[in-house]
């Protein structure tokens, strides 16, 4: 059998562009930011890498930053969970749809990517705001109900005047915004695993007398676990670093750690501290991923 060792020329030709890309646009910038996290400001524009830990000590030693990081984690976790709950049925429908419908349904999932994130977030504002589309719709239903009640003789405006829902500028809006934006990242890996799922397992389970719910939890769920895990990673990590969504949709206490980091690079002009905060998130993410592969490794060992 031929391996890459026998055709080194081909291997290197194919590997070089990707490696260079990663080195220049991923490793190098990250290395710079990592270096900055051990730096001190010496003037308004200059920083000097002194190996100081003061940025990390400031981040970990000030309760307010830990509080914001904790808040970011639970907001992202909630958004990821919502994504999972909503995306599972969508992925199922797409995977079980007739072949000629699949490309169209998949397209519908990916379509929002054609519009920039910023524009979509602004669109959400006009959906959720006090005089937005949701409230217009509700008001229409409300008035309709009122006139029906009046018609059947219960008197005018039984329900009273419509009070618009306050859906914008709170945590609900932030989570809704994150779910909306990152949903495709959950649907696609789920779809990929459900698509590959051998449907005869489902038939076997149902034939052997398991209920639909039992079949889902004991057969579908474990078999689609890889898709669920990649979906969670693909959604949770960008949620954790988001700053645009809380900025535009959040209220007065919506700040997430991404906003604090953004400010360090702009208004606060404190790049070393911003770098340290960024890398705290990176360390946490790497740690979680390492734990996961450790866990996955042990599990596959058991199954063999």
């Amino acid at each position: 059998m031929e391996t890459w060792k026998q055709s080194k020329a081909v291997f290197w030709t194919l590997a070089t562009p990707g490696t260079l890309w990663l080195a220049i646009f991923f490793v190098a910038p990250l290395a710079i930011i990592w270096g900055l996290s051990f730096a001190e400001k010496t003037s308004i524009v200059d920083t000097e890498i002194t190996g100081t830990l003061s940025n990390y000590i400031r981040a970990l030693g000030t309760p307010v930053y830990l509080k914001i990081i904790w808040k970011s984690i639970w907001i992202s976790a909630l958004a990821t969970l919502m994504c999972l709950i909503i995306a599972f049925p969508i992925a199922f429908v797409v995977a079980f749809a007739p072949d000629k419908w699949k490309p169209i349904l998949l397209m519908a999932v990916i379509l929002p990517f054609w519009i920039n994130l910023l524009i979509r977030t602004y669109a959400l504002i006009s959906v959720f705001r006090t005089r937005g589309f949701v409230n217009f719709g509700l008001e229409w239903l409300w008035d309709g109900a009122n006139s029906i009640l009046a018609f059947i003789g219960l008197g005018p405006a039984v329900l009273g005047a419509f009070e618009p829902l306050q859906m914008l500028y709170n945590n609900f809006a932030v989570i809704a915004g994150l779910v909306y934006v990152y949903m495709p990242f959950m649907v696609l890996p789920l779809y990929a695993t459900i698509e590959r799922l051998d449907k005869s397992f489902l038939e076997a389970s149902l034939d052997l007398g398991a209920s639909q719910a039992r079949t889902f939890w004991s057969v579908v769920f474990p078999l689609t676990m890889p898709g669920i895990v990649s979906g969670i990673i693909l959604v949770f990590i960008p949620c954790l670093g988001s700053f645009l969504t809380p900025d535009l949709l959040g209220g007065t206490n919506a700040t997430m750690i991404g906003n604090v980091i953004e400010r360090q690079f702009k208004a606060a002009n404190d790049w070393p501290f911003g770098a340290a905060l960024s890398f705290l998130l990176m360390y946490a993410t790497f740690g979680a991923l390492a734990l996961r592969s450790l866990f996955a490794g042990r599990k596959s060992g058991m199954e063999v």
């Binding site: 003037s43 308004i44 524009v45 307010v64 930053y65 006090t130 900025d247 209220g251 404190d270």
Partner: protein, 292 residues
């Protein structure tokens, strides 16, 4: 031409070297900040004869002595914008926004540390540019106590919130409110009696500008009387240009929303660059305000 969202973005861009800009438009305190960082090219006044057109107070500037590095483009204030049908009387004090729950849930403040804290300081009778940690702390406590009544810290879109009925009172740059006032007669604008921020957007040439000759010619063009009048009337900001005022309409010049009265202006303050330590003081206070 490049657009930037705010002064901080411009500063961050120039920090790593001039990406090819000939002319930039920073606000006064950022002119000072950029001078400290040695980012600005000295101007050759002989190439900008129209500098003589400037109003007396704008011929010189505390943040740029002798106007060696900047010429003023437009000036204005930070004000209170309000919906007349929802608010009794004129909200001519910062108290309405910072220390009052009459319009709870229907108010917005700006979205950046220096302006939100600065005007709280102004309301408390202190300087907008205070570097005293105890004073900043007082402002922080005032804002945290008021937070429950504030709907959102609006990053420069208070005028949209006001226009769409999301809020009834907001803190905004005067020109932004003026723009929505044109379409909605129910919106008003006032600079509170405690005074507010007086800002001055300036035209500067950054170090390393590829075409300094053209840049000077452009600055001179902008300072032309007729050009200045047209720009001012179009964007509804106050011109610092005496020659432009001769060309401008009476309606523009007599609009107190654009040109506030002299005794209000006397109470306003320009933001100065506070230094890096105070910048950190404000940022940390702002982080605590947001997390509270």
């Amino acid at each position: 031409m490049d657009l930037y969202a705010d002064n901080d973005e411009l500063f961050a861009k120039l920090k790593e070297g001039n990406p090819g800009y000939d002319v930039i438009v920073p606000t006064n305190d950022y002119v000072e900040r950029m001078l400290t960082a040695n980012m600005l090219e000295p101007l050759d006044h002989s190439q900008i004869p129209n500098m003589a057109n400037l109003d007396k107070p704008f011929q010189d500037a505390a943040f740029d002595p002798g106007r060696k590095h900047s010429v003023p483009y437009m000036w204005g204030t930070i004000c209170v914008g309000w919906r007349k049908s929802k608010v009794d009387g004129t909200p001519d004090s910062w108290k309405v926004l910072y220390d009052d729950d009459k319009h709870a849930g229907k108010m917005s403040l700006l979205g950046d540390a220096q302006n939100v804290i600065g005007h709280a300081l102004k309301y408390l009778g202190m300087s907008l540019n205070s570097k005293d940690p105890a004073e900043v702390k007082k402002a922080e406590e005032l804002i945290i106590a008021q937070k429950k009544n504030i709907k959102v810290f609006a990053d420069d879109n208070g005028q949209d919130l006001l226009a769409s009925g999301e809020v009834d009172i907001c803190q905004e740059w005067n020109g932004d409110i003026l723009q929505v006032m044109e379409e909605d007669k129910d919106i008003g604008l006032v600079v509170p009696k405690e005074g507010g921020l007086l800002w001055q957007d300036c035209l500067c040439i950054p170090k390393g500008a590829p075409h300094p000759m053209n840049a000077h010619a452009f600055l001179n063009f902008i300072l032309d009387g007729e050009v200045g009048a047209k720009i001012g009337e179009f964007i509804n900001y106050a011109t610092p240009n005496a020659a432009a005022k001769k060309h401008a309409s009476k309606e523009y010049l007599s609009n107190t929303s654009i040109f506030p009265s002299d005794d209000i202006i006397a109470k306003c303050e320009s933001a100065v660059y506070l230094g890096e330590d105070a910048t950190r003081l404000y940022d940390e206070a702002w982080t605590r305000i947001q997390a509270a």
